[in-house]
Amino acid sequence: MYVDDENSNSDLTARVIPCLDVAYGRVVKGTNFKQLLDMGDPVELAKLYEQQGADELVFLDIKASVDGQESALEMVRQVACELSIPFAVGGGIKTLDDVHKFFHAGADKVTLNTMAVEKPALINEISTQYGSQSIVVAVDVNHEADGSLAIYTHGGSRRVDVDYHQWIQQVVDRGCGEILLTAMHKDGTGSGFDTDLLAKFGADFPVQVIASGGAKGPQDFLDAIHAGADAVLAAGLFHRGEYTVGEIKSFLIDNNIKIRKTGC
């Protein structure tokens, strides 16, 4: 769908999305969801990524329950005043009232993970009240040692008894607008996105799929889009300065992918 072709019936571009995991007001990065490293100030990094050509940003407040919600809301307000691109926020959202607070602070979308599993009706409520475009469900999936696919919550720390395929169908039926698919077995490993998982969605899948987990270099982004991802998300390789968003996007453009060009 994103191959640049004159006969295409869609002008939509594939999105490149830096993810900022926030804990205690700082951007952090862990390996396989553990061992947090300080990566900088969220507002400053957000501005930097916008300048580099990021199409959207995702902020995940991974210590939200410990840190308290007010600091997260203040960060969202600052980001909303500084950015002119859309952004999603997630972490610590438990009720429709929490969702309202984040939208009121200026977020464009909310991301649900733990609460989507624990209280799936919240997906319907958000979708009905704010529209499906406002809700992203973060599906953290892990390839278990026995070869099965397991769903995790609580920042990847708790395995839940939910069937992966049924869960994907359910979040779509309940009205989510996008799925943020994190392959936990790839996260932080630098072995590329899980293209096999992505390929199973197909071109007619009714919502957009954001690929996450495992990016090491430009080729991984290209492979994910070819496999069927609508957007590609990465954290560490941007935070560590290994690649700029612009470098990734230039590579994709050179490989005939429809990408939003900036700075021209």
């Binding site: 002119s84 009121h104 464009d108 996008e178 939003r260 900036t262």
Partner: protein, 201 residues
């Protein structure tokens, strides 16, 4: 633009229809150097107090139209346009400038443009993301804009930008001082900021 000559700052009123967050739009209008006020209800004094009226809209077509009526904007908007003053509708705020929408067939729009909104012909709706504008206008030509919509105006002789998503639709319309943008200029990066400066400044 002649009416604005000699005034250093354009006076812009953003209509708050209780349909979503206005922070990004307000920030963008202020960054454009305009004097900004956010208003919930109209007042005939606004005809002389403001140069530009910006009407953002999120949510369903019928909800936005109901807010326009309940808050007393319906007749005021028609009067504003009759006076040749500038009105900028964004997203559903553009759609309600037309006669109606398949989203809520029983709801009647403002009818300032002829035509109706139809559902996008694409398996993935809403359309969420960036698309390159096909436009002859120098302010929009080949620029990338951020869209969030499931419905759109497919035909309009006053279309100034088009985009394909399943089929072609109007990304922007303009007739004199009446502007509509289906995309979100306030979320469309540097291009969007400059466009807001152009229509508000």
């Amino acid at each position: 633009m002649n009416a604005l000559v000699g005034r250093s700052q354009t006076r812009v009123a953003v209509i708050d229809l209780n349909s979503g967050n206005l922070l990004s739009l307000q920030t963008a209008i202020e960054a454009a150097g305009c004097e900004l006020k956010t208003v919930q209800k109209p007042d005939l004094k606004m005809l002389s107090d403001f140069d530009v009226l910006v009407m953002p809209g999120q949510g369903r077509f019928a909800y936005v139209m109901q807010q326009i009526k309940d808050l007393g904007w319906y007749d005021f908007l028609l009067e504003w346009v009759r006076n040749g003053k500038r009105l900028v509708g964004i997203c559903v705020g553009m759609q309600v400038l037309f006669e109606g929408s398949d989203e809520d067939p029983e709801a009647t729009g403002l009818g300032l443009f002829n035509g109706r909104c139809h559902k996008l012909q694409h398996p993935k709706t809403p359309m969420v993301g960036w698309a390159q504008l096909n436009s002859y206008k120098l302010t929009m030509k080949d620029q990338f804009a951020y869209f969030v919509n499931s419905y759109a105006i497919t035909e309009c002789p006053f279309g100034t930008a088009k985009v394909n998503y399943g089929s072609s639709f109007c990304a922007a319309v303009q007739r004199g001082n009446l502007y509509g943008f289906q995309f979100h200029p306030e979320k469309s990066g540097q291009f969007g900021r400059e466009l807001i400066k152009h229509v508000c400044g």
